[in-house]
Subunit: 148 residues, 2 copies
């Protein structure tokens, strides 16, 4: 395996993902399948609604952030094995045409006392083209430790 | 608007969603787009991997749980406006052929002291056909209060 181990990670390590644009057709396609509310799928209803236009489903934004995580392949062949998410906040609407950039920082590395694995806590913040944070969350991942 | 207001919700209110089956083609399709790891998209690699077969992306499971939430339309025309998620845990692998059922319970209703809105905390637990919990999370939603 040519991937990183728990031992290779240090709290404070941080990196940016690749900026990605939100496409209207994708907003509607995702939401029709998983989150079919007028604010996500109906341009006309959304235009006169509280957000003044279509906004992306929060789950769509989260999925796109995952795609960017994978695309940047930060840990080599080590699988990104999610245990859970804490403090996910959808802070601002995400609209078609927005360009989002994720910043990821390792905030904790905890080694199991009994097994060659551990837990990594990653803080992700996602900002739009205006520098506004639109999403933040803490991801817990299971991570292998280097074999003895 | 023919939807529920904050005033209509009481902690302890609980209901089940509709059981839904995980389809292999959907597992692969979602993951190819958003979470392209071998355990989610490559049947042969997954078969000899740690899970002994394909498993669904955790984000896919979360999106399907959202779809079921919408389909059951528990609050009428009131939009499901997510503020965030706490304590999301992917507790067990979800595999093609699994049948999942969500249970939702209102655990807190907090009214704003200054505006006619509030926050509803919903606890969701999702079990498979063996009665095992595969996902749990707390969803925070913004909810309108009844006009005076």
């Amino acid at each position: 395996m040519s991937g990183l181990y728990l031992d290779d990670l240090t709290p404070g390590d941080a990196w940016h993902g690749t900026p990605f644009e939100i496409e209207e057709a994708d907003v509607v396609r995702f939401a029709r399948e998983y989150d079919a509310q007028p604010m996500h799928i109906d341009t006309e209803a959304a235009a006169v609604g509280r957000f003044g236009g279509l906004i992306a489903s929060g789950w769509h934004v989260a999925a796109l952030v995952m795609r960017d995580f994978i695309a940047n392949n930060p840990f080599g062949d080590t699988p990104l094995l999610g245990i859970g998410i804490d403090e996910l906040r959808w802070l601002r609407p995400v609209r078609p045409g927005d360009i989002l950039t994720a910043r990821r920082e390792i905030v904790a590395v905890q080694r199991s006392s009994s097994k060659p694995v551990g837990t990594v806590t990653l803080r992700t913040t996602v900002t739009n083209q205006h520098g506004e944070t639109v999403l933040s969350m803490n991801t817990l991942m299971q991570f292998p430790a280097r074999p003895a």
